[in-house]
């Protein structure tokens, strides 16, 4: 539907129209909005703090720190496109990391097996979530709120205060002596996942079905799409990604911490929504999700550099989230 704009006779009106039009253009693509915001923020920081912000070591730190959330956002975006989500990812991450550490550190199994076990434990957690949601029919908020505390509790039961140190062979997965561009493996894993996941979700027939499910689950079902099976697969993918993030995190520190990822679920969902997903489903891209993660990471970094302090971080991230979502009201094409 074309929005027809009345002719403005005075200059003030025209200026406002131009502004509104610019906002509309931006609002039409969340990825573009975020991209502009990220660039603007980086530019401002580079000008104001030329000695602290645009340095290689600061950039490396930012990229490495956003890696776990960046890995999680791929799965969360997929789930949210399909109209559901997983609150238990932070606990799944810790649980998987601890199990990988137990297998490698306590049982002395090879590091490769430990990595695999960690990812499998994550996938299993996701499978349980998916079964509860699709087979028992409990809504995802309640189901994963339940498993959020269950998995966290199981993490404590498994390893008490954690496993430290694990083994050098295992730690090598997360901190090589001389990694590519001197950025450690979690970032590279994230990059590969974002590229491959971005392509899969945007282009392939299989993952395209999630958009239909999120758009209208009943219509998708009646179109012959196996809604429950796909949602289950989505949860398993989410769990496996959380497992991977947990394993890499433990390897990077050579320590499986029991309260790893405690606040990650909300951070991930914030980034996903910021990146263009809607709680109703049917919208979003992996690219948008990762831009959301990047933006939040930059804001956190900016807060640390200009010494305003971490206490203000949440305030800024929250305001940006509300701002981005309210931009939707300016979209040129709306539903009738």
């Amino acid at each position: 539907m074309q929005i027809t704009q009345p002719m403005a006779d005075n200059a003030e009106h025209r200026r406002e129209n131009l502004f509104v039009r610019m906002v509309r253009r931006l609002a039409d693509s969340r990825e573009l909005t975020l991209f502009v915001l990220v660039i603007a923020l980086a530019l401002v920081m580079s000008i104001v703090y030329p000695n602290n912000f645009p340095t290689a070591s600061n950039m490396r730190a930012v990229l490495l720190n956003l890696a776990p959330v960046g890995i999680l956002v791929c799965g969360m975006m997929l789930l949210m496109i399909g109209g559901t989500f997983d609150l238990s990812v932070g606990s799944t991450l810790a649980f998987s990391g601890v199990w990988a550490a137990v297998v490698a550190g306590w049982w002395g199994w090879p590091a490769e097996v430990a990595v695999l076990v960690g990812i499998l434990v994550g996938a299993l957690c996701g499978l349980v979530n998916g079964l509860i949601v699709t087979r028992i029919g409990i809504n995802a908020l309640i189901a994963t709120l339940g498993t959020l505390t269950i998995y966290r509790s199981l993490t404590y039961v498994t390893a008490g205060t954690g496993v430290t140190p694990i083994t050098d062979a295992f730690a090598a997965y997360g901190r090589a002596a001389d990694p590519l561009l001197r950025i450690q493996s979690p970032f590279w894993a994230m990059l590969v996942l974002v590229l491959v996941g971005g392509w899969l979700v945007a282009r392939t027939r299989f993952f395209r079905q999630f958009y239909f499910i999120g758009g209208n689950p009943r219509a998708a079902q009646l179109s012959g799409i196996r809604v429950d099976r796909l949602i289950l697969i989505g949860f398993v993918i989410m769990g496996a990604l959380a497992g991977l993030a947990g394993v890499l995190g433990a390897a990077r520190l050579n320590s499986a911490v029991v309260n790893a990822g405690v606040d990650d679920q909300l951070k991930v969902i914030t980034a996903t929504v910021l990146g263009g997903a809607s709680l109703k489903g049917g919208e979003g891209t992996i690219l948008g999700g990762i831009l959301g993660v990047l933006f939040i990471a930059l804001i956190e970094n900016a807060m640390i550099i200009n010494a305003i302090g971490v206490f203000w971080q949440g305030l800024v991230v929250g305001l940006v989230l509300l701002f981005a979502v309210s931009l939707d009201r300016f979209k040129t094409s709306g539903r009738a």
Binding site: R205, Y211, F212, G215, N216, L222, S223, R226, R335
Partner: protein, 510 residues
């Protein structure tokens, strides 16, 4: 003495629809008046105007001879006009007493609700109706009939002079219905005028004194129940002027495509059988709730089947989900296009592609180019009015949405296409085009199974008409030469009720 209620020349317009056109009637004190008509005839609208839920566009309303200028829900309540809605207006989590006195609970000091007084008064009101329901119970624990009685008690809690009951027995069993009738008779005996909105003929003969029949928003006639007959009432209800002509059928009827035998899918489908041949249009007629849509869903795999057999092209299939039906070459256009059919927030391309994702892909990749080409084909072929194939479907008109929905299923090239209510909420122009499309499909050799509540539509389209009642296929008529009365008689033989045999275009939207 002036009649209790007199309405003169009432008209009511909804956007694009004239729901009521110059309707007049008058009801005496203590009279039970039935308001009869097909779905969309305007009977519920009239009831809601009298209750002040809707405002009228023209006409006047007199209560006990005094003209009422402004009639809203509060004014109606003060005048002693109560309505029991079709959907029910009780809050299930609250107690019976609280529901009866919603917003008007008796209070003690500091505005505290006087629970004891409230319960006592509720108990008395319910006792007046000749039943006993504990006022402390939560409404969610009541049976549908008890809930209806609580609704009536709620209306009674204010000094009641006119009671409007809108399809009150829809959810009730036979014995519950009888109990409700006793209550209504008792109220009428006390001088309350009752307007009983229904389409169930049997109930009208059992309960009412007189009946006013509406047809297409106009008054078709008022009769004393003692002086009329089922036949006369049916004639009053269905007599009409709009006709869609039958096309000359020179179609070649081919081999049997669908053979469904004694399909059992409780609770709504008990034993239904049907045969559809290639190039044939079969219309499945029957009342709402007769299990037509559910039968189709069972064939398609969208509903669990407990017994019976389904064969497609002679091969037995056992669809466990819509994907199995689709795999067997069945397409199903569902009744509710917004809730179950379309992806309203997505564009035409994606909607059309939803059933044929593998066909619009190269390997694992979804091909936008192929999907757009496919959508463009259908936009041209079905004459979908849209600026581009990338238009969001939610922004299209009802008729064009319906065409997109058809395109979505035509894309998979089904052998058997089930279409549930092909023209609901579609204007007359789009309607005749959809008929043209369906006939063209049959000409191409597709087997068509059309569910329709619109009798003129059934008579215009069908090669054969299969009638369902109470979950069973109860009879079959040749499409040529069948009359609405014949279909209605088959459909009501078991239920003795003339349910919503026809939908007015646009009424679903209104």
């Amino acid at each position: 003495m002036a009649p209790r209620l007199e309405i003169k020349g009432i008209s009511k317009f909804f956007p694009g629809v004239r729901a009521l056109d110059d309707v007049s009637m008058s009801v005496e004190a203590g009279e039970i008046r039935a308001l009869l008509g097909e779905n969309g005839a305007g009977k519920s609208t009239l009831g809601k105007i009298v209750a002040g839920v809707y405002s009228r566009n023209q006409g006047s309303i007199l209560v006990d001879g005094a003209e009422i200028a402004e009639l809203d829900e509060k004014a109606a309540g003060d005048l002693g006009i109560g309505i029991v809605h079709q959907e029910g207006s009780l809050v299930p989590q609250l107690s019976v007493a609280e529901n009866i006195f919603a917003g008007r609970q008796p209070t003690q000091w500091l505005g505290q609700v006087d629970v004891r007084a409230m319960r006592d008064r509720a108990r008395m009101l319910i006792a007046q109706l000749g039943v006993a329901i504990d006022p402390a119970l939560k409404v969610s624990t009541l049976s549908p009939a008890q809930a209806q009685i609580v609704e009536i008690a709620k209306a009674l809690s204010r000094d009641l002079r006119i009671l409007i009951l809108d399809e009150p027995t829809a959810a009730l069993t036979l014995t519950e219905t009888e109990k409700l009738f006793d209550v209504v008779r008792r109220l009428a005996g006390n001088g309350v005028s009752v307007i009983y909105v229904s389409h169930r003929l049997a109930e009208i003969f059992a309960l009412c004194h007189s009946v006013t029949v509406l047809k297409d928003g106009r008054l078709a006639g008022t009769r004393k129940v003692a002086e009329t007959s089922t036949d006369e009432l049916i004639r009053l209800m269905v007599g009409r002027d709009v006709h869609f002509s039958r096309a000359a059928t020179g179609r070649k009827i081919g081999d049997v495509v669908l053979e469904a035998e004694s399909v059992d899918a409780p609770p709504l489908v008990r034993s239904a059988s049907i045969t559809v041949r290639a190039g044939e249009i079969i219309c499945l007629a029957g009342l709402i709730g007769s299990g037509r849509s559910e039968f189709c869903e069972a064939i398609f795999g969208a509903r669990r089947r407990r017994g019976g057999s389904i064969r497609i092209g002679g091969k037995a299939i056992d669809p466990k989900g819509p994907w199995d039906g689709k795999h067997a070459g069945i397409g199903m256009v569902p009744e509710d296009r917004k809730a179950a059919g379309l992806f309203l927030g997505m564009d035409i391309v994606n909607n059309v592609a939803a059933t044929v994702l593998s066909r619009v892909s190269s390997g694992a990749n979804f091909s936008n180019r192929k999907a757009e080409a496919l959508a463009k084909n259908f936009v041209d072929e079905l004459r979908i009015a849209t600026p581009s194939v990338r238009q969001i479907v939610g922004n299209l008109s009802g008729g064009n949405q319906q065409k997109v929905l058809l395109a979505k299923w035509l894309a998979m090239e089904p052998r058997l296409l089930i279409v549930d209510e092909p023209t609901r909420g579609v204007d007359v122009g789009a309607r005749s085009e959809i008929y043209r499309l369906l006939r063209a499909l049959a000409d191409k050799g597709v087997a068509l199974l059309v569910v329709s509540s619109d009798l003129p539509e059934v008579l215009a389209l069908a090669d054969r008409i299969v009638v369902m009642a109470e979950g069973r296929t109860v009879g079959e008529l040749p499409g040529d030469g069948a009359s609405e009365e014949q279909v209605l008689r088959l459909a009501t033989r078991y239920t003795a009720s003339v349910a919503e045999v026809r939908k007015e275009p646009g009424m679903a939207e209104a």
